[in-house]
Amino acid sequence: MAKANFDTPALQPHQETPDLPSVKPGAMQHLKTFPAKPLHNENIGYPGELVDGWQDKAVKRLGELVDGSQALRVFLDTCVKCGACTDKCHYFLGTEDPLNMPVARQDLLRSVYRRYYTFAGKHCPKLVGAKDFDKEMLDDWYNYFHQCSQCRRCSVFCPYGIDTAEISMAAREVMDSIGVGQKYCNEILAKVHKIGNNLGLPEPALVDTLEGLEEDVEEDTGVLVRFPVDQKGADVLLITPSADFFAEPHIDGLIGYAKVFHQAGIRWTLSSHASEAANFSLFIGSGDNLKKAAMRIREAALELGVKRIIVGECGHAWRVAYSFWNTLIGPFDFLDPKYPAPQHIVEFTYDLIQRGALTLDKEANDHRRITFHDSCNVARASRMGNIPGGQFILPREVIKAAANHFFDMAPDTIHEKTFCCGGGGGLLTDDLMELRVKGAMPRMQALQQVVEENGVNTLVAICAICKTQFAKTLPHYQFQGDMITSLHEVVGDAIQLGAKE
């Protein structure tokens, strides 16, 4: 690990949640994520560089977005600046920069909207804090709308349900539309469109990787567990984040899914055409790209003739799948109506456990003392099962069915109040490492408490971004990077292969 050029926030002993900081204006003003190169922008339908007359074009695009979004229109009007959200953002708690308070972040856009689209802002801008969209404002937008992970924690606490994620997505779309894109998101999105996944892993490499996995698992367990690709006539199409194909600890999760399918005796397949669950279009608020990237999945499902679509462990992908797929690429009338479309892998495994279809040896996980990190997009923007809050119950029940030692973190830091890992929303890039480490602090504080009190040594998550983020940031807080574990690794380790053969 290279020496960091910033200070990692200190954790407080015996404390569930971080102390409230005083505001330090400008504390994160210096942090500017790498801008997209012209090709990155052009590949996903945006101008390559800052366009002529960008002020007017940005203001016009903002107006179009407001006209097309009830959420934006209402959120820009209704904030009363009560301050309820000011201490809820993990980035504010970790960086102390007041522009990372949700309302202040929103006001970067609201002040511009007011200036050009409201009576008060047009005629007495000073009075209502309306501001011109100038170079300085554009810079603030670029810096601070790339310091929002769109986790929606603030919206849970807002008396009017104002969702900063919607505002930060709109801001990024406005910036993209004038040629100011972010390298990380835009480059990756182009790879999805072109090759089929975020990593740019072509089909032969994917097949090769999966064959290697088959061999590894057979060596480990003595059982041939299949990892099929493009198998026509399979029952299930698995759509999973491409990190599952190669990164640690993600890949152990993929092995877990395969073991579950194997023991359940259900024929499944991956798709080389849609070898990616992630859809970064969400992060940049681009409807066109969102639909285009999602459409690959419908095409793959039809091409392969599957009956069900199951989504692997990925937070924002589950939001897109659960909340948006039916809208964007539905109806799913070609799938088996007995099952929810789409279904989360945790719902699938949970149902199998309920039916007694899996043989799990909890003692296989006795070396693990587990806590569970609710990923923001699963917790606050989607659901599992058929009851409210199922997204909190099901993963925990699956863990408890596969392991003996489970401990929840403090109530104010889990379920819908969960703290973001600090790397979501298109910020999982090394050029934002300072933000990622500082933003992880509230989660680390809560984690430390269960480490101290319960001897927790395993942090389970069901999101590829959370997993990568924690693997990188845990060491900054003196935890082992390999504490972070895929939920289906815990399941996979407990499955007694051969027990049902």
Binding site: K81, V128, Y160, D163, S323, F324, P388
Partner: protein, 238 residues
């Protein structure tokens, strides 16, 4: 008499601006599409569940309660007191006065003090809490000043100037039935009225729109049934 006429015209104009302004905004909120499903947890699974959740948001400020106890305390106190005070004021607009309005008169009287206490608490936060100080703009202070001045001038009418309330009521009823009566030229009454006219005018162009707006926030009003019902609107319906 000239004052009576000026205030009558101002009241009519303000009422018109308020009604048309708010109606326009509501129509705009209602007509703007919500292309995607974005309910935020806890999201009810049924329409009835949404109605129940919104009822809790409106009556007890549910989210705010879990968010910040001080803002909740001052905010809720102010809004409930305001509701009581407004209800109490109905007696100046009705003849005969409705039974329940008569019943709540004593509560309404004391509610004015609770209203001022709530406003004072909210205003104090804008100076004392550095985070809230940072996000407060001039208009946020002015709005509190306006509401505070309305409450204080109302109290002054009641406890300082001993205005002829019968004539004020006659004036209000006269406005409503287009049978204008003279307005008692009491300084506090004129101030109270002038401030209320200002409040009515700024309502549709200010953050007071949170009142109608909150009923149109898709994060709170959408049903969590994205997999069961295919939702399309705006660009997703094209």
């Amino acid at each position: 008499m000239i004052l009576s006429v000026i205030f009558a015209i101002l009241f009519y104009a303000a009422t018109l601006l308020l009604i048309v302004g708010v109606a326009r905004k509501i129509a705009l909120y209602a007509r703007t599409p919500a292309p995607l499903k974005i309910p935020v947890t806890p999201a009810p699974l049924t329409r009835a569940g949404v109605v129940w959740q919104m009822t809790k948001e409106v009556t007890v400020f549910r989210s705010l309660f879990f968010s910040n106890k001080w803002i909740w305390l001052f905010g809720w106190m102010f809004h409930v007191a305001l509701a009581l005070v407004l209800a109490r004021h109905l007696r100046y607009f009705t003849e005969p006065v409705w039974g329940w309005v008569v019943l709540i008169q004593p509560f309404g009287k004391y509610a004015a003090f609770a209203m001022i206490a709530g406003l004072a608490g909210l205003w104090a936060r804008r100076f004392l809490v550095d985070r809230v100080r940072y996000i407060s703009s001039l208009s946020d202070h002015l709005m509190l000043a306006l509401l505070m001045a309305i409450a204080l001038s109302g109290l002054a009418i009641k406890y300082l100037s001993h205005t002829d309330i019968v004539h004020i009521k006659a004036y209000m009823l006269g406005l409503m039935y287009f049978d204008w009566q003279p307005l008692p030229a009491d300084a506090f009454v004129l101030l109270h009225f002038a401030l209320i006219i200002v409040l009515m005018v700024v309502f549709p162009i200010s953050k007071l729109l949170h009142a109608p707006g909150m009923f149109f926030a898709p994060t709170r009003t959408q049903v969590d049934d994205a997999r069961e019902r295919r939702h399309t609107a705006g660009w997703t319906a094209e």
